[in-house]
């Protein structure tokens, strides 16, 4: 049985996803599928909060590669928050970090987004 679960919330074209557990098998594919659905529903920003993620392997990297690709295709942006160093190192090594913005926590990401929107307006 997969040791993975996912919850998400969204408001004003921003979706926050909270994966929990191990991102290391097909059980975690719901993360990629959910992000596609959210992008399809018009979300311009996806925030992934890593605080409850315990383990990421190549399987997980594949899922996040897919998410990056789909986000780019939708002209949306992907933010990562609450990352442990070990996870950040994996993403850096695999060249994923260049395609996302990393924040210390969700609040910081949302503040950044607010400032960005104000600037655009």
């Amino acid at each position: 049985m997969s040791n993975f679960s996912l919850s998400s919330k969204s408001a004003q074209n921003v979706a926050v996803m909270l994966p929990k557990g191990y991102i290391n098998d097909m059980g975690a594919v719901s993360l990629e599928r959910t992000s596609e659905q959210l992008l399809g529903a018009g979300m311009s920003t996806l925030i992934v909060n890593f605080s409850d993620v315990q383990f990421i392997n190549s399987f997980g990297v594949s899922i996040f590669s897919g998410m990056v690709q789909k986000t780019l295709e939708h002209n949306s942006v992907l933010y990562f928050t609450n990352m442990k160093k070990v996870h950040r190192d994996v993403f850096e090594m695999m060249g994923l970090i260049k395609h996302v913005k990393v924040f210390a926590d969700e609040e910081e990401a949302l503040k950044f987004l607010k400032r960005k929107r104000k600037y655009v307006e």
């Binding site: 098998d25 190549s58 990297v61």
Partner: protein
């Protein structure tokens, strides 16, 4: 992080991923599920968002899409790329191939549309001991960086692993197909076998109008008792066959003796009593898949008190199978018209069997048979095995006598 340290980390990550790949490839999932999982591991190793795995179909000279990742799945369903022997030969050297390297190859030119649709940057042919089994295509890396030499080496290892998995799956599938075909043939042969035996039984019974369907009824009654006693399926089949063939020896007994209406002379009795031994002699030449068929047949005229034939065996020497056949053969003879008398009523036949219980017929077998018949008459059991053969017989006399008996 220094380049050396980064390379070391990448190497460690690749090794861990190869272990993950091995676990996915040898998992108990079905082929598509395990290959899909393997695609995730592979694409994760190189940060490639898209990939596809094709399986070679030698009869069709093409490779068919088995699983993919990162594409709109429905649009790719049923995708296949033609590939000829010389194109496979071209792919064998120096793989993995970038699409840039392949740009002028006939394989690429022929399948350019599909490869472009798949966003292919790398084509990895899959071989097991020189045999082509499929191909893996990978899209461009996130950020567009080229595959490094070390990564190409890892891809070759991956290709080997995926090829073995595909090859084993194909062998397994072939075995499963062969097993299914063998099973179909076996069922068909079994049906022919049964039909042949039934034809023999019909031939035996046809020798005498009075014994028409006798073997079939004996077989059916015997099966009913055997099932009620909890016999295994194969043993039930055995007694069914013994029931059908128990009188096969009558085929060479003079038809005048068989059809004689009056009392038999001593020599005629001797003649007719030869039939169990003749049946045995005929059947013992056949290697039946069921145990004891010929022995059941040989002794179906034995009695518990030792006054039967051909071997005058006694109770303890008689198997349940013999005791079943002895009872149902006699019961059917009683409840059928004979040249020398009309059939007995069910009640009279029941009383006659009960009278001979302990001397001619076994008590357990007798009770099992009549209990089952009672249950069929009263509607306690749904599957009727005896009653359908006793049509036009008065059940009321049996019910009255059976309820009064100590059965």
């Amino acid at each position: 992080m220094s380049n050396r340290k980064l390379d070391l980390k990448r190497l460690m990550f690749s090794m861990a991923s190869l272990v993950d790949l091995g676990q996915e490839a040898t998992s108990s999932k079905d082929l598509s599920a395990k290959m899909k999982a393997a695609l995730y591991v592979i694409t994760g190793m190189f940060s490639v968002p898209t990939a596809a795995l094709f399986v070679y179909r030698p009869q069709r000279h093409d490779i068919e899409l088995l699983v993919d990742k990162g594409h709109r799945e429905k649009a790719l369903q049923g995708t296949a790329m033609p590939i000829r022997a010389e194109q496979i030969k071209d792919l064998r050297a120096n793989y993995p191939h970038s699409t840039r390297d392949l740009a002028k190859s006939s394989f690429f030119l022929q399948n350019r549309d599909i490869l472009t649709k798949l966003q292919t940057k790398i084509v990895l042919p899959l071989f097991v001991k020189g045999e082509f089994v499929g191909a893996l295509t990978l899209g461009r890396k996130l950020g567009g960086a080229a595959f490094r030499q070390g990564e190409k080496e890892v891809l070759r290892v991956i290709a080997h692993q995926m090829a073995i998995t595909l090859h084993n799956a194909r062998l397994f599938l072939e075995l499963a197909q062969r097993a299914a075909e063998n099973k179909r043939l076996y069922t068909s042969m079994q049906r022919i076998y049964h039909e042949t035996i039934q034809a023999f039984a019909a031939a035996i019974d046809a020798k005498d109008d009075y014994t028409k369907n006798h073997s079939y009824r004996v077989a059916s009654y015997a099966v009913a008792i055997a099932k009620e006693l909890g016999w295994k399926k194969k043993d039930v089949e055995g007694i069914y066959i013994a029931g059908l063939l128990h009188d096969i020896g009558k085929i060479i007994i003079d038809v005048k003796v068989i059809q004689k209406g009056a009392t038999l002379s001593a020599s005629e009795r001797t003649e007719i009593r030869r039939h169990p031994q003749i049946s045995f002699d005929i059947l013992s030449k056949i290697k039946f898949p069921w145990k004891n068929v010929e022995k059941f047949v040989l002794h179906h005229h034995e009695r518990l008190d030792g006054n039967g034939y051909p071997d005058s065996l006694k109770d303890s020497e008689l198997s349940d199978g013999v005791k079943i056949l002895a009872l149902v053969d006699a019961f059917d003879a009683m409840t059928s018209d004979r040249p020398y008398r009309e059939k007995l009523s069910l009640g009279v036949a029941f009383r006659e069997v009960m009278r001979c219980k302990g001397t001619q017929f076994d008590e357990k077998i007798t009770h099992t048979f009549f209990n089952l018949l009672s249950k069929e008459i009263s509607g306690e059991v749904k599957e009727l095995q005896i009653l359908p053969h006793l049509q036009n017989m008065d059940m009321s006399s049996f019910k009255a006598i059976a309820s009064d008996s100590s059965m």
